[in-house]
């Protein structure tokens, strides 16, 4: 599904290197978690995979089902099935949430050679997904993320994911800022999308989320590299001991 090889990334405008050789292989249906200290490059990895500007790949590759992600526009990556739930979802005043969702869905359908979803079918689809995430209809009428609480923004990301049905989902700290109940809702939303083929890359600081979304593999990222990979136990180890031991080991 997702295959990252020796990925090196620096900032375009500065000589600052952020990723220093990331290797990662996520197979269809798998859930991988990435943990790691602040500033280690987790969000950068997710941005580079989804095509945000400002970064320069100096070495390495990233492929989605064999397609060279790095050669594609962000919208092409989305149409190819990649989705990033942002750590900081973006507010877009003046663009209604529904317009946004519908434009996105129909753009992806078009890229896949499908007709637009009718207004009625679209409404039904969104209502159903929103209900499961306990997002009320009023919120959908508002401009994208404007005036949403932190938790509402995160739930809105999952709603988009549920509507767009990507095959490779990257969740960047979707659990941060969520109360216990909301975290459960979000985890349920993610688990509902698991179907044996769809893959997930879950970036998180807390083991708690991984109690709900059981990962197959846990990676630890530090200073732009994956320094350790292991099973779910690795997350527990981090929860108890922090990163000090792991970092020392690498040195």
């Amino acid at each position: 599904m997702l295959e990252i090889n020796n990925l090196h990334v620096k900032l375009e405008e500065e000589d600052k290197v952020i990723l220093r050789g990331v290797d990662l292989l996520v197979k269809p249906g798998e859930v991988h978690a990435i943990m790691g200290p602040n500033g280690s490059g987790k969000s950068t990895l997710s941005y580079v995979l989804s095509g945000r500007g400002g970064y320069q790949v100096t070495e390495g590759s990233a492929r989605l089902d064999g397609q060279d992600l790095l050669a594609m526009e962000p919208e092409e990556r989305a149409a190819a099935g990649l989705f990033l739930a942002f750590q900081y979802p973006v507010e877009i005043p003046g663009v209604g949430n529904m317009t946004f969702l519908r434009t996105a869905l129909n753009a992806q359908r078009k890229a896949q050679g499908l007709d637009d979803l009718s207004a009625g079918d679209f409404l039904k689809l969104v209502r159903e997904k929103a209900k499961a995430l306990k997002i009320d209809a009023e919120m959908l009428k508002r401009p994208v993320n404007v005036g949403f609480s932190g938790g509402e923004k995160k739930r809105n990301e999952i709603l988009q994911m549920a509507v767009l049905e990507p095959k490779m989902c990257i969740l960047d700290e979707t659990d941060s800022g969520l109360d216990v109940d909301a975290m459960k809702l979000v985890a349920d939303g993610v688990n509902a999308l698991r179907n044996g083929r769809r893959s997930f890359l879950v970036i998180t600081h807390y083991q708690r989320l991984l109690d709900h979304i059981k990962p197959d593999v846990v990676h630890i990222m530090a200073a732009g590299r994956i320094i350790r990979s292991g099973g779910p136990d690795l997350a527990l180890e981090v929860e108890h001991n922090g990163y000090a031991d792991l970092l020392a080991e690498v040195k």
Binding site: G53, F83, I92, G94, V95, F100, T103, L164
Partner: protein, 428 residues
């Protein structure tokens, strides 16, 4: 003070070919306007009020020719709206192309026809609001219009009009030079919508005087037409009675030069005036919104919302003023002017002003200039929206506060349609 020789010469040259013989009250009003104009002269670049917009092409003896691009490529507006169409071709009323002007609760006449009738209601309006609007700033092109307008309509609404009056300005001749003057009176409790669209002429000078009596409502939506090379200067002079409402929205796309002046006097208590504009300019495009709102009564509300999207060297200007007179307590005045610059060659010049002589008022104004929000653009793209469409969405979002000033949803939808069409054609 003697008028500078240069100004006198400009005025003489500009008005040389303009001869209008009017009878009755109209003749009197025109003679008075000619005298006022002679004292003022035409605007020149040095004039403070024309600092950001060069009036030369508007005051030149002859219009610069303007190619007729036609409406074909522009997304049509108002076509599905049930309306009374009044068509002007290069500034001349075309009765054949127009609808039967009979509409319950509304009187529609041609300016020239009304002149013969003594005591006509328009006598108290024609040139009257224009003259009131000359203080504290001269607006000589409006006075010239009063003196020399060749055509125009007089519309008086005495009840709620069942459908809008739609003024359509067709541009056919590459060298047409049109001067139109309309007067609109909305009587107590009446409600009228006036739509305007079309480029009108190679050079267009228009005045619209609007009196809204106590409890009346007036809606105005215009789409200043395509024809990239046209030039226009327009004026709206409005006076509002107590508890009345005035709403005006203008969409401008294309046009080498456009100066839209709006002068509003909130004369009766508890009245409300909203003026909004959405502008999109690409390339050789200069657009100027000059607005002057005077609060002369208590508890009135005014809003000015102007948004401009500029690219490839287009220039946008906003001069907006809120004047709150002594005694106009509990005034609520709002003004915002913003530009979205799609590249570094484009320019937005803004001069927002507040002048307040009452102590219990709420007034705010703001002006910003910015580029497209790259983060929002990426967010949209990351959801699969192609870059162009994402940009268009963000541009529409930027303009939405102005478009929201249109009350009628079907009309607003038309305006959005034209905007989208323009954005598609002008995508990089």
């Amino acid at each position: 003070m003697a008028l500078a020789e240069a100004k006198r010469a400009t005025l003489a040259a500009r008005t040389a070919g303009l001869t209008v013989v009017s009878e009755g009250w109209l003749g009197t009003a025109r003679a008075a306007a000619r005298a006022r104009l002679a004292a003022m002269g035409l605007p020149a670049r040095r004039d403070e009020y024309w600092r950001y917009t060069d009036p030369t092409s508007l005051t030149a003896a002859d219009p610069s020719p303007a190619r007729v691009d036609g409406e074909e490529e522009e997304t049509p507006v108002f076509t599905a709206i049930d309306r009374v169409k009044l068509v002007f071709v290069d500034g001349v009323f075309d009765a054949k192309a127009s609808d039967d002007p009979r509409l319950a609760g509304v009187e529609i006449e041609r300016l020239a026809e009304a002149a013969a009738r003594p005591g006509h209601w328009a006598r108290d309006l024609f040139g009257v609001l224009e003259a009131r609007g000359q203080s504290p700033v001269d607006r000589p092109l409006a006075t010239m219009n009063t003196a020399y307008a060749t055509d125009g309509v007089l519309i008086r609404a005495t009840a709620r009009a069942r459908k809008p009056i739609s003024l359509i300005y067709i541009h056919k001749s590459e060298t047409s030079d049109a001067i139109l003057h309309h007067c609109i009176k909305v009587e107590t409790g009446a409600d009228l919508t006036v739509l305007e669209n079309g480029p009108a002429a190679a050079r267009f000078c228009k005045v619209m005087e609007v009196e809204v009596a106590d409890g009346g409502s007036f809606h105005h939506v215009r789409a200043q037409g395509p024809d990239h090379e046209r030039r226009a200067v327009t004026h709206v002079f409005a006076r509002l009675g107590a508890r009345s409402m005035f709403k005006s929205f203008t969409l401008t796309a294309n046009g080498r030069l456009t100066r839209n002046e709006v002068v509003i006097e909130l004369a009766g208590a508890d009245s409300m005036a909203h003026v909004a504009g959405a502008t999109m300019g690409d390339g050789d495009f200069h657009h100027d919104d000059t607005v002057f709102v005077t609060h002369a009564a208590e508890r009135c509300e005014s809003r000015q919302v102007f948004k401009k999207v500029l690219k490839n060297g287009a220039v946008g200007v906003f001069q907006g003023k809120i004047l709150v007179k002594a005694g106009a307590q509990k005034t609520d005045g709002y003004q915002i002017s913003q530009s979205l610059l799609l590249d570094e060659d484009s320019q937005f010049l803004a001069k927002p002003e507040l002048e307040i002589y009452a102590d219990d008022v709420k007034c705010s104004h703001g002006s910003t200039s910015g580029a497209i929000d790259e983060t929002a653009l990426f967010y949209l793209q990351s959801r699969g929206v192609p870059k162009r469409a994402a940009q268009a969405l963000l541009v529409l979002a930027f303009l939405s506060e102005a478009i929201q000033e249109i009350d009628d949803e079907a009309i607003a939808e038309d305006i959005r349609g034209r905007l989208e069409g323009w954005l598609n054609r002008h995508a990089r």
